[in-house]
């Protein structure tokens, strides 16, 4: 398995394999049910949860509405504090900036704090191509990297792996990257964690350059914030000489005070903790403490286009807590890889087709990767109405319409393969648009009911492959109503 998601098949096909993988389903079922139950308890402890949720939504919406202003304020504050700000419109530009910055230090290896933004742009692969080796230091990211695997969850990238598999990965591959796994390593969590700790420690102490993302950026002070559970992030943020942070433009918040809301909602939603173990904040550079050079790469990569869509822009409120993944019945069965993106689950289904556009097969299939059950909306700490955006994006895929691509207003054509569906929907509207036509159809279906096949042709075959069809009644309701005068002509 490679580190890239390019060329992924559409969601239904990718999901089919996952649904048939008993071990994967068991891993996912156990993990998601455990975390979703814990989250529900942690959230239930707060009496003002709904108020916090609304506050988070309002802060994010306000910031997004004035994003240009806050980003300029952020840039000024970071610069005043001794940092250097770089603007990247897409993945290629961001990767180029980071690679050049690393090369300028003369180093050929970097340590990394787990970061969705760098995953999104494929930074590790881009650095590899420039002869720079990037070491992931988050335990789950390390597992994924050692296994040459892809992350399948925002918070727990190795959620699809169980302890036994992780033991085997450590035993087989750690030696290729540095300190080997200890002799006789078992699958005990404490032993696995110790093996990772020893393996990583030599990298922390050796590295001169670190790369991170950030959960938040405070515009008023130019401060960046990373919340994490293992302490590896703090090691990366404080020990090296050069720190490069790649952050999506939507991560800015206006003031320190705004963090009060998110530092309550994020840990409870993601790890079901009242407070996350490590909250690191850094503001520019200070002599004699921490990195002497700090670069902030502000990443757009489709975010401004997303912001232009008045229904879809709410996806940019996301604080990457992953509560929607853990509660999603589709994610639970299909696994994260089926979504073909570093953003899996419900949020991935609305974020990826907006950031990347809906032209590829996988991106056009993502808005349909949901039964619209609404559980994701219920748990979202910033109240993103994911079902609403899914339906909105389905419209874009099926019918085309106006959108903004790379800053230009365009009219999208429908994605390929929807012509038959469109015709069927029009026909259905014609039948349903007139009671007379509907009635004729119902009567025909009722009279021919003994001739109906047990399995359906065309797209309907997918239904009858695993479910029996309901039997057709002898008489539709409206005929009964008319025949019996609303039941009055029939003994009750």
């Amino acid at each position: 398995m490679s580190g890239t998601f390019l060329g992924m098949p559409a969601f239904p096909k990718a999901a089919r394999e996952a649904v048939g993988d008993e071990r994967l389903r068991a891993n996912l079922r156990h993990a998601t049910h455990t975390i979703r139950d814990k989250r529900a308890r942690a959230v239930g402890e707060l009496e003002d949860w709904e108020a916090l949720r609304e506050a988070g939504k309002q802060i994010k919406d306000h910031t997004l509405r004035h994003l240009d202003r806050y980003l300029v304020q952020l840039e000024e504050a970071v610069t005043a504090a001794g940092g250097i700000v770089h603007w990247a419109c897409d993945a290629a530009e961001a990767n180029r900036i980071v690679a050049d910055l690393v090369k300028a230090t003369g180093e050929t290896e970097v340590v990394k704090v787990k970061s969705m933004a760098t995953q999104e742009i494929g930074l590790n692969e881009a650095l590899e191509a420039e002869g720079i080796r990037a070491y992931e230091t988050d335990l789950a990211e390390l597992i994924v990297q050692l296994a040459d695997d892809r992350p399948s969850h925002i918070l727990v990238p190795a959620i699809h792996r169980n302890r036994g598999e992780i033991r085997d990965i450590f035993h087989d591959t750690m030696k290729n990257w540095g300190r080997p796994a200890p002799e006789g390593l078992t699958d005990e969590p404490a032993e696995l964690a110790e093996a990772a700790r020893l393996h990583l420690r030599e990298k922390f102490l050796r590295a001169k350059v670190a790369i991170s993302g950030a959960n938040f950026m405070v515009a008023e002070s130019g401060t960046l914030v990373v919340v994490e559970s293992e302490g590896n992030g703090r090691m990366c943020l404080t020990l090296p000489e050069t720190l490069i942070s790649v952050v999506g433009v939507e991560k800015v918040v206006p003031t320190w005070r705004d963090l009060e809301v998110f530092l309550q909602t994020l840990p409870r939603s993601s790890t079901a903790e009242r407070m996350n173990p490590y909250t690191s904040t850094w503001t520019g550079t200070i002599d004699g403490d921490g990195p002497t050079a700090f670069h902030l790469v502000l990443l757009d990569n489709g975010r401004t286009d997303t912001l232009a869509d008045e229904v879809g822009r709410q996806a940019l409120r996301c604080i990457r807590c992953s509560a929607c993944l853990n509660v999603c019945p589709v994610y639970e069965r299909a696994g994260g890889h089926a979504y073909g993106s570093v953003y899996p689950g419900p949020i991935g289904a609305i974020l990826s087709p907006q950031l990347r556009g809906t032209t590829s097969e996988i991106d056009a299939s993502l808005p349909y990767a949901s039964s619209l059950c609404g559980a994701c909306y219920d748990v979202c700490p910033v109240a993103i109405d994911i079902p609403e955006v899914l339906v909105h994006l389905r419209e874009r895929v099926a019918q085309g319409g106006p959108a903004v691509t790379r800053g230009e207003k365009v009219v999208l054509r429908p994605a390929r393969g929807h012509a038959a569906e469109r015709a069927a929907m029009r026909a259905a509207r014609w039948v349903l648009g007139s009671p007379g036509v509907l009635r004729t159809g119902q009567r025909f279906a009722a009279r021919t009911r003994r001739l109906h096949p047990r399995t359906l042709p065309g797209p309907g075959r997918a239904w009858s492959a695993s479910r029996d069809l309901p039997s057709m009644p002898a008489e539709p309701f409206r005929d009964w109503w008319q025949r019996t005068n609303g039941g009055k002509g029939e003994a009750q």
Binding site: Y368, S371, R394, R429, L432, P435, A462, R467, G486
Partner: protein, 251 residues
């Protein structure tokens, strides 16, 4: 009070017994219920599949048929949610597209008047004991739209607990989706089937003889799954349980 039955196109075509049960039940409770013959479909399948513009004429037709009634009662949580939650949104979207507020104005009268059956019984008629008799063990699947869009909450359970002879058993993982999701069942058939099978296994573990819900679309998917998995349980709409009486227990 002028009360109309909005049966939904699915029930009209495939589940007329649910419609007959609603009529019997409401009549027994003293409600004179009308069935406007011009009714067709709320447009939910179109809307949720991404055909909002195709759903608009269906919504307009719905409003034409049902405006003027004090209450529009439907035995479908998802269709009630379509009218109450999504019709206003359709109006807002049309307005955002510069098509004025006429759609909103047209749909406005039917939005607050539309009730899911159990809501109508508990909130409008104020009854929880409808005088039903159903001597079987039943487990209740709340369905996503009933649970999350409409917030039916305790209403269906209150109604079922008051049914004579009925033993209500708790469904494990009740708030999880059954996997129907309209066109999702066809577009993502494998995941849908896996969700349905898990729901049926959970229902089976309760030892219930019947799996009850307030939406025949979910029950169509679950019933089809039961039949295929050869599980000895029957899907039953809550209206059919509530309409059953001691003299003539429905099936």
């Amino acid at each position: 009070m002028r009360v109309a039955l909005f049966l939904t196109c699915l029930n009209d075509t495939l589940y007329p017994d649910t419609g007959k049960a609603v009529v019997k039940l409401l009549t027994r409770l003293g409600v004179d219920v009308d069935f406007p013959m011009a009714q067709t479909c709320c447009g939910q399948a179109h809307y949720n599949t991404g055909y909002r513009h195709e759903a608009e004429p269906l919504a307009l037709h719905f409003a034409d048929v049902f405006t003027g009634y004090d209450a529009i009662v439907t035995p479908s949580g998802s269709c009630a949610a379509m009218v109450r939650e999504l019709y206003p949104r359709m109006g807002e979207r049309a307005e955002a597209e510069g098509r004025g507020g006429t759609l909103s104005a047209h749909l406005a009268p039917v939005v607050p008047a539309t009730y899911e059956l159990t809501e109508f019984l508990v909130d409008v008629l104020g009854v929880t004991d409808v005088g039903a008799y159903y001597p079987r063990t039943v487990t209740y699947h709340p369905t996503c739209h009933g649970l999350r869009s409409l917030g039916l909450g305790e209403r269906p359970y209150q109604l079922l607990r008051a049914v004579k002879g009925l033993e209500l058993v708790e469904l494990p993982g009740a708030d999880e989706c059954c996997g129907f999701g309209g066109t999702f069942a066809v577009k993502n058939a494998d995941v849908s089937a896996a969700m349905g099978a898990d729901k049926i296994r959970n229902a089976e573990s309760t030892g219930a003889q019947a799996l009850c819900a307030a939406d025949n679309s979910c029950l169509m998917h679950l019933g089809g799954t039961m039949s295929r998995l050869k599980v000895d349980m029957r899907p039953v709409h809550i209206a059919e349980i509530l309409a059953s009486t001691e003299e003539r227990s429905a099936r």
